[in-house]
């Protein structure tokens, strides 16, 4: 069931990516979906999917080099570096979402600079970074909530981990050594 869910998410994001690409919108949703999958499953699977998905995207577009296969893992890495632990609240995915969007856009900018014959506009890239960075900030928590609800209905583990109760966190740990008597 998990494989079907992951496959469906990736398939939908690829189609969305291709359709939005026709109006010139840059890579964003796929990077966020892969970050979600890496949270819900494992980091290794996330990186594998990022590379595979990137190669598929590049093949569909007929690019000379698999640039997306490098951009997506970099974006995933950026997201995971911003939040090392598993998030325990939906809003904790917001900053990684922004980081992923920025990393993906910067990656696209670098690829364009290296491979394109046309010089890119720095000002345009700056506006894109601001807009899509903010979009990632809002989109990632929203996507996490939706995907987690869908995943729970399918009996899958969610991306958001259980938060430890405050009382359990504050309680001091006492270790009793075996064989030692209780002090009187």
């Amino acid at each position: 069931m998990r494989a079907v869910f992951v496959f469906t998410l990736l398939w939908a994001s690829l189609l969305f990516e291709l359709l939005t690409g026709q109006i010139g919108l840059p890579l964003l949703l796929a990077a966020l979906v892969i970050y979600y999958i890496s949270l819900a499953t494992s980091l290794g699977l996330g990186f594998t999917l990022a590379i595979g998905f990137g190669i598929l995207t590049d093949l569909v577009y007929g690019r000379i080099l698999p640039v997306t296969a490098a951009i997506l893992p970099a974006a995933l890495l950026a997201g995971r570096l911003i939040r090392l632990d598993r998030p325990t609240h939906v809003l904790e995915t917001a900053l990684p979402g922004m980081g992923i969007a920025l990393a993906a856009l910067l990656g696209s900018g670098v690829a364009r600079l290296a491979l394109s014959g046309q010089p890119g506009s720095f000002r345009e890239l700056l506006w894109e970074l601001i807009f899509f960075g903010a979009l990632g900030l809002f989109l990632m928590p929203l996507m996490t909530v939706i995907f987690d609800v869908a995943g729970r209905k399918l009996g899958l583990s969610p991306a958001i981990g259980e938060a430890k109760p405050n009382l359990e966190r504050l309680r001091p740990r006492r270790v009793r050594e075996p064989g030692r008597e209780k002090p009187q």
Binding site: L18, V60, Y61, G62, P66, R112, P119, S121
Partner: protein
């Protein structure tokens, strides 16, 4: 108990395996790109064509919202336009007949004939927006790599967009004039020629660099640039753009043989939707005339 030596060995083996896997993935990508891209293009065709069909459906439905009198007025306007176009076509056919007659009298070969196939933009790459696009084609259209891709410019004049680079069953990939890999000969109004994407001129946003323009000719800004017909799949005289700048060099005081320039393309690359592909005519006369 874990042995430290064995653990470091495992790490090295793991790193080497990852590197090897990445190398294989890259090599596989480069090797399979040609065929896999077209195969995937055909595979995604129904999904991508869905958006085209939806747009078309909405446009048809919006037409139904018009009143009868509005539709009648539109139909009348179209009929008038069609009759004007029919007269122009007739004139052109007369010119073509005259041209053929004159060529016969001068014992010159007949000009290469061209047929045109419609195509629609199926997929555009957001990363290389102006350089590369995928078009949908009919399975039996006879389009081959190297065929000219034409679009009507903002003023309605047909203009060259690029060249078909790969052809699948239902889709074809196009390298546009902005692609640095496309080399193309150009003809200027002053009789000179140049080559697209050659020379030492640095590209400027929205302009095409042109090199190898003979130094002994005078170039002026606004000069029309068209195709030479030297390339097999591109008809002669097809508008490419207008010259915006050329190196100002006095041929008497330089040892350079060529100058460079920048051309503003005629086609609007941000609004490409319906395109036309030039295909050589399959008549015996045309085959004889073809270079």
């Amino acid at each position: 108990m874990k042995e430290p030596g064995k653990q470091s060995d495992r790490k090295v083996i793991f790193a080497a395996a990852v590197l090897l896997a990445l190398l294989l993935v890259f090599a596989g990508y480069r090797a399979l790109r040609r065929s896999a891209g077209l195969l995937l293009g055909d595979f995604f065709y129904p999904y991508l064509a869905l958006s085209q069909r939806t747009t078309q459906g909405v446009s048809e439905q919006s037409l139904l919202l018009l009143s009868r009198s509005e539709l009648a007025a539109k139909a009348e306007a179209l009929m008038k336009e069609n009759s004007k176009l029919a007269i122009r076509v007739n004139e052109t056919e007369n010119f073509a007949a005259d041209n053929r007659e004159l060529r016969k009298l001068l014992k010159l070969p007949a000009p290469a004939g061209w047929d045109y196939r419609p195509a629609q933009v199926l997929l555009r790459d957001p990363m290389f927006w102006r350089e590369h696009l995928t078009i949908s084609i009919d399975p039996d259209s006879g389009i081959e790599p190297g065929a000219a891709v034409i679009s009507a410019g903002p003023d309605g004049i047909p203009a060259l967009v690029g060249v078909v680079s790969r052809v699948g069953r239902r889709n074809a990939e196009v390298e546009t004039l902005f692609s640095p890999r496309l080399r193309l000969s150009l003809a200027f109004e002053n009789g000179g020629t140049g080559f697209l994407n050659t020379g030492e001129r640095q590209p400027v946003s929205g302009k095409l660099p042109v090199g190898h323009m003979p130094v002994n000719l005078k170039y002026s800004a606004g000069e029309k640039v068209s195709s030479t017909g030297y390339e097999t799949g591109i008809p002669r005289g097809l508008r490419i753009g207008t010259l915006s700048t050329a190196d100002g060099v006095d041929p008497n005081f330089t040892s350079a043989q060529f100058v460079t320039g920048l051309v503003t393309p005629q086609a609007d690359f941000d609004n490409l939707r319906y395109l036309v592909i030039a295909v050589p005519e399959d008549t015996a006369e045309a085959a004889e005339a073809r270079p």
